[in-house]
């Protein structure tokens, strides 16, 4: 079974540019989650998509947005990039069963560096 895949592996941008990160969930999973892991700040929840809808978002400004496609893949868009956006962005997916004990399965992340 293929795991969660993310692309690109690394992304280098400059301040003010826009970045697009992509995620393909495990086959059969309809929920996709995005996290930011900045140095020293742990995992910060960004967004949750399920069945094509945004279900919840963390405490991030509106320039962080995304969408989920009919095939359940997802992309995260970050506009007007700032230096502090430099981080590892992790995508996770979980089963469509709406039970709280379903674990999330993570991809290897996209390393976003802002120059």
């Amino acid at each position: 079974e293929a795991g969660v895949t993310q692309s690109p592996t690394h992304l280098i941008k400059t301040r003010g540019q826009q970045a697009t990160l992509r995620c393909s969930p495990i086959s059969g999973h309809t929920s996709v989650y995005w996290y930011q892991q900045a140095l020293g700040l742990g995992l910060q929840f960004l967004l949750w998509y399920d069945e094509g809808e945004e279900r919840n978002r963390g405490n991030f400004p509106p320039r962080f947005s995304g969408r989920q496609f009919p095939n359940y893949s997802s992309e995260l868009n970050v506009n007007a990039l700032e230096l502090e956006d430099s981080a590892l962005y992790l995508c996770a997916s979980s089963s469509s069963d709406r039970v709280f004990n379903q674990p999330q399965h993570f991809g290897d992340g996209t390393r976003l560096s802002i120059l």
């Binding site: 995992l43 949750w48 992790l90 996770a92 709406r98 709280f100 993570f106 992340g109």
Partner: protein, 115 residues
Amino acid sequence: AQSVTQLDSHVSVSEGTPVLLRCNYSSSYSPSLFWYVQHPNKGLQLLLKYTSAATLVKGINGFEAEFKKSETSFHLTKPSAHMSDAAEYFCVVSVPSYNNNDMRFGAGTRLTVKP
């Protein structure tokens, strides 16, 4: 609301000695609990999960954890550390909610294994 506290930010052990990574949780409901491991520049890998079945949970790579409700703890142990165990470990709590992504991550414990 639920929360999780990892009591040590850094643990150092010698190869072949036992590992103990401590996690306390707070929850108004019966929680599900997870341990994840993250190797450098990789995503999080699920080690084990507790979902109200047996209180002693066995995971991958020889790790296990014991759910102790009276102590609100879910400590991770391994009898004998290997060099390959050096990584960051995250304890996660999840409780029933409308937003079934309501998983709270601990700040992480960095495990160093000395030869």
